[in-house]
Amino acid sequence: MPSDSILIVGGGPAGLEAARGIAEIGYKAILVEKRDRLGGTPDEASYAALTPHFKNTDDVLGAMIGAITSNPLVEIRTGSTVKECSGAAGDFAVTLSKDGKEEVVSTGAIILATGFDHFDPGRETQMYGYYEHDDVITLVDAEKMLKQHRFVRPSNGAVPKRICFIQCVGSRDRQIGNEYCSKVCCGIASKQAIEIRQIVPDANVFIFYIDMRMYGYWENQLYWPAQEQYKVNYVKGIVTEVLKKGDKLVVRGEDTTMGRPMEIPMDLVILSVGMEPSTGTKALAKLLGVRQNKYGFIEAIGEPMDTVSTSVEGVFVAGAAAGPKDLEDSTSMAGAAAMKAIATVRRKSAITAKV
């Protein structure tokens, strides 16, 4: 029996937007989320203000969640995971598990919006000492503090006066295996640098980078204001090691455009960790037999013009499950995936009707 409903896996920005789109067009969306809450990584990792518009994360997610909870065509299944899947486009049977109880739902198409994980800085190949030094933190840790409007050194609770970001941690690195650019870290570091200067106006903030990738409007939404208004120091040159010196940290690298080595004392070092495919993304890809690229992200087979179709007919991908994506990418892909998923179930049920 072909099904008209569409199953979405992942309740982050891409999954929420896909569910909203499907329901607004008049089709049934089943939104599966393994956590007990919707919102995905921005919620789970306590994002404060979203890049690049500085909009409050809870407000933005709240509006997205509100749009689907108020729509009876969306069936929300939190605390649930996908166990099995059989069938084909137009008529999949997906086994969901919640609290040890299993249930099979039928769906005509599947949208994978299973997202990314933040790179674990324990795997970096430099010597930044994330797990050794309390005052070496990640963008995620910094975001948590910014959410509480309290920015301090974890080691002693003091307000840091010299802070640096180290870009491309876990990205663009053949030795690690992540050869891609994670796309959002330059913008997020610049956003956080601005916020830090707002909270600690007499702080010196440095960003050590390989290339600043501030595409499109991020340029004058983030990069120029950070540099011009907030006097953030952008230094081309990647730190090779972070050393502890008394109460301080010392970062060592090369100031490449000035052609000189540098050793600068810091109170706090923030590692700009990139994206990797989430455990859920890798597990779902295997379960559904969807082709992954060499990094484990789900491969979009029709690029550049089709960003959401996968190697399995009727299965689509949206958001950072397909690789490093910003929020605009993720929600735009969600719209495209919703449209293609609806087209699939319509086509399949029309064929069945004829038969």
Binding site: N233, T257, I264
Partner: protein, 233 residues
């Protein structure tokens, strides 16, 4: 005090950080500063356009960068060693961020002169004769400066001209150009106004900082004229 900035190299470590910091504060407080520096991409377009950079180890980018990063030590070094290599042609104004490295250099130079930095003295030393001429007479180059020893590359013609300078000058129709010690006739009212401007705007203080000898001579010349006109020093 803010401890170490960029370490490793510090050429003028004998000069206290506070002194360097004060000079930079003066640079930043200049009214033109915010129009001359936004942020630097470190792209090098200014260096590519710079004629001085082709002939000297000079880079307007490094100047803009040091100032943008507020690297006080390096700025002090540049005020001493680099800013005088700029020809102030402003080819660097083609900056995509609309910075003016040349303009920043103007400000750096002015602060260097005001504080009599060694480099300012050295760089301006060669201009003593011209400064004396223009500040004492109001005209920059006068016919009597045309001497064979000053212009050997002009050949024997210079000797002819310099011998009969007075006659040559009288051959020029406008009577105001029948001068040899100044480029043209200078009205007393004009020269008094110029002297007053130089005194009141602090130019004399700057001259005193970079060239004390020149300052003394100029003051002698000016005092006499000003007193004649009824101004006391």
């Amino acid at each position: 005090m803010e401890q170490t900035r960029y370490t490793v190299r510090n050429k003028y470590s004998d000069v206290p950080y506070e002194v360097k910091e004060q000079l930079f504060r003066e640079v930043k407080s200049d009214l033109r500063f915010t129009d001359y520096l936004y942020g630097c991409y470190e792209c090098g377009i200014c260096v590519a356009a710079c004629p001085s950079a082709r002939f000297y180890d000079f880079s307007p980018r490094r100047i803009a960068q040091a100032v943008a990063r507020e690297d006080v030590e390096l700025i002090y070094e540049q005020m001493n060693d680099d800013v005088w290599e700029c020809s102030q042609c402003f080819s660097c104004n083609r900056c995509p961020r609309q910075n003016s490295p040349g303009g920043i250099i103007t400000v750096l130079r002015e602060v260097a002169v005001k504080h009599g930095l060694r480099s300012a003295k050295e760089a301006l030393g060669a201009y003593g004769r011209v400064i004396y001429k223009i500040m004492s007479t109001g005209t920059q180059v006068s016919p009597d400066m045309l001497q064979p020893d000053a212009f050997p590359d002009w050949g024997p013609q210079v000797l002819d001209v310099s011998k009969n300078l007075d006659t040559w000058r009288k051959a020029i129709p406008p009577e105001t150009l029948h001068t040899t010690e100044t480029a043209w006739e200078i009205d007393d009212k004009t020269i008094i106004e110029l002297y007053l401007i130089w005194h009141m705007t602090g130019v004399m203080n700057m001259i005193e900082k970079v060239d004390e000898g020149l300052y003394t001579i100029l003051m002698d010349v000016m005092e006499e004229k000003l007193e004649e006109a009824g101004y006391s020093m």
